[in-house]
């Protein structure tokens, strides 16, 4: 079974990464606890050590070497442990030792961790979504995380996490993107953004953009990334309006959106912004560069 291999290789990888970063005594503690979690009938060790991991591991980044990064991607496509901290990794290591042959029992215990988690524990639990066994059972949990008002929790599901793109249905996915825009999160950190773009989402986002323009508020430039492929005769007016904005990031976004459209008028609009097109071709302007430069609430 492919899953089985993956399930033992990933904890091993996490431990190797931590070995270069943490104290020997912390690592000994972690290994002993995980061993106990793997065989324990009552879940006391899991619950206590999951919390207490904060006493042994810091929130400093994982600082991975290139070879380690490569291995991580080979173990799990699109996984981004470079966005994890050491405490996230230690907690994932513990939870991944939970016996999972009985999926109902396993999920019940995992739910208990989620239901009683503090802010940082929830971050760790949600970041690990893409690594748990029984991936198909976790979509409601991911959707629940996306309902959180704690940005740190929302981000753990929505950003740099391959789980949502792989498992959420269209409604839940669109909710993720819409809320990310509402919370002004950096969209370029959402994995699978272009692959999961859809006409329904584009329509909803255009409504949102109109709402903001009516209220004399700015529209987050990355929003247009989701609209580009769905430019048509009725909404091209909005792209024209976007291209007339003063903010250079919005104009860049307009040109990028037009480049992802096959609508003839969109091609024409690109030609009216030759200098931006050149910057795009040189790699100086991209959705990522726009996302990085954008300061929310301006």
């Amino acid at each position: 079974m492919e899953n089985r291999d993956e399930n033992s290789l990933i904890p091993q990888f996490l431990l190797e990464v931590l070995q270069k970063l943490a104290d020997v005594s912390s690592l000994d503690w972690l290994a002993a606890r995980a061993k106990k979690i793997a065989v324990e009938e009552k879940k006391t060790t899991l619950f206590l050590s999951f919390s207490q991991a904060s006493r042994f591991f810091t929130k400093d980044g994982l600082s991975l070497e290139d070879s380690q990064l490569k291995r991580a991607k080979a173990l799990k496509a699109d996984w981004r442990p470079e966005t994890w901290n050491q405490l996230n990794a230690a907690r994932a290591y513990l939870v991944l030792h939970l016996p999972h042959a009985d999926s109902t029992k396993w999920l019940k215990t995992l739910d208990q961790l989620f239901e009683t988690g503090d802010m940082n524990e929830l971050e760790s639990l949600y970041k690990t979504l893409c690594l748990y066994p029984h991936q198909e059972l976790l979509a409601p949990r991911a959707a629940e995380g996306l309902r959180s008002n704690m940005t740190i929790v929302f981000d753990a599901v929505a950003l740099n996490n391959p789980y949502p793109a792989a498992h959420l249905n269209e409604t839940a996915w669109n909710q993720l993107v819409l809320k990310a825009i509402f919370l002004q999160r950096p969209l370029y950190q959402i994995i699978g953004l272009d692959e999961r773009a859809n006409a329904h989402l584009a329509d909803t986002l255009l409504d949102a953009a109109n709402e903001r323009w009516s209220a004399h508020r700015s529209v987050m430039p990355e929003l247009w990334r989701l609209v580009g492929p769905f430019i048509h005769d009725e909404n091209i007016q909005m792209i024209k309006k976007l291209l007339s904005q003063d903010n250079p990031l919005e104009v860049q976004a307009g040109v990028l959106a037009c480049l992802s459209s096959s609508h003839p008028e969109a091609q024409q609009l690109v030609n009216e912004h030759v200098s931006i097109k050149e910057e795009i071709d040189r790699g100086n302007v991209s959705w990522e560069s726009i996302g990085r430069q954008y300061v929310p609430f301006q």
Binding site: T44, F47, L48, S51, Q52, S54, R55, Q112, E115, T116, G117, D118, M119, N120, E121, L122, N149, M150, T151, I152, K179, F182, L183, Q184, A215, R217, V295, P296, F297
Partner: protein, 302 residues
């Protein structure tokens, strides 16, 4: 810099957080307590405890205040024995979490048998997980209740330096200090202490092991009790060092024994960045300009 080591922020508004920050409060401890009416389901306790380590912590952070909490089954609700037994099973899930600085507030209310049972069980828990204890002393029959709280704490093997006796007054303070416990005073209009009486207590007993807090909650209370009392002490000639001890350092020393309450948490805290939030259901509503604090100045812009 002040610490309010006893305040129930779940009942307070964002205006309070802003005012507290402006008045110099850098860190707060929110003890688990009752909510004004008794809970009837264990799930209500679970969600309450989760909010103390989750949402409320996040909310405080947005205003530049570091939020800690204590976890415990309060004495009023301990009288529902069947429910309390379930809550006791829940406590181990929370007491080991980050930022949980004590078991509390626990102790006596009506001083019933059930209260006694769960008070003792939680003292044992505190000992097991090596956390300090925050004790709520009763409103009625206070003097005897306070003595008994200390007797029982010692009986269960806790050291006086691990235990804070809260809601003291002129009648209880001497015994608490004489026996080596920490004496906290709640500056709460009408029912507990006033600032002026507090100044006299500090003048009379000195600053050692005395702690000032607000216990502000859903009743008529004042989240600025600590800075206001500190200012009054200053006006009335109490030495600055004594103000520092009673309104900051003593709380840090006793709850710091948990290993979860460190000065560096607020001295090195990340600058306030309300752009982290802004959801329609969050603390900022559409159209409001978020506060992004400039670390180079001491002024928090509005």
């Amino acid at each position: 810099m002040y610490i309010d080591p006893h305040i129930h922020m779940t009942s307070r508004t964002t205006d309070d957080y802003e005012a507290m920050k402006k008045a110099g409060i850098v860190a707060i401890i929110e003890p688990a307590f009752w909510l004004g009416q008794p809970r009837t389901q264990v799930g209500s306790f679970q969600d309450y405890f989760s909010s103390l380590v989750g949402w409320e912590r996040f909310r405080a952070k947005q205003f530049g205040i570091v939020h800690y909490c204590t976890i415990g089954l309060n004495s009023k609700e301990a009288n529902n024995v069947a429910l309390s037994e379930q809550v006791m099973d829940l406590l181990p899930l929370y007491v080991g979490k980050e930022g949980v600085v004590a078991i509390g507030e626990i102790g006596y209310d009506d001083q019933t048998e059930a209260e006694d049972r769960f008070f003792r069980a939680q003292l044992e828990l505190a000992k097991e997980v090596n956390l300090p204890v925050m004790i709520h002393t009763p409103h009625r029959d206070k003097k005897k209740g306070t003595s008994k709280s200390m007797d029982v704490s010692l009986e269960h093997g806790l050291e006086p330096h691990q235990v804070v006796i809260d809601h003291n007054n002129e009648e209880t303070v001497k015994e608490v200090l004489d026996r080596g416990f920490w004496a906290a005073f709640t500056i709460y209009p009408h029912s507990k202490m006033g600032s002026e009486r507090m100044v006299e207590v500090v003048k009379k007993y000195g600053p050692e092991r005395i702690i000032v807090d607000s216990s502000a909650d859903w009743g008529v209370s004042d989240p600025l009790s600590v800075p206001k009392t500190a200012n009054l002490m200053r006006e009335r000639g109490v030495p600055e060092e004594h103000i520092h001890l009673t309104c900051y350092q003593n709380a840090l020393t006793v709850y710091g024994q948990s290993g979860q309450f460190k000065e560096e948490d607020w001295l090195n805290r990340s600058a306030i960045d309300q752009t982290e939030l802004s959801d329609g259901n969050s603390v900022l509503r559409g159209g409001q300009t978020p506060v992004v604090e400039d670390k180079s100045s001491n002024i928090v812009k509005n």
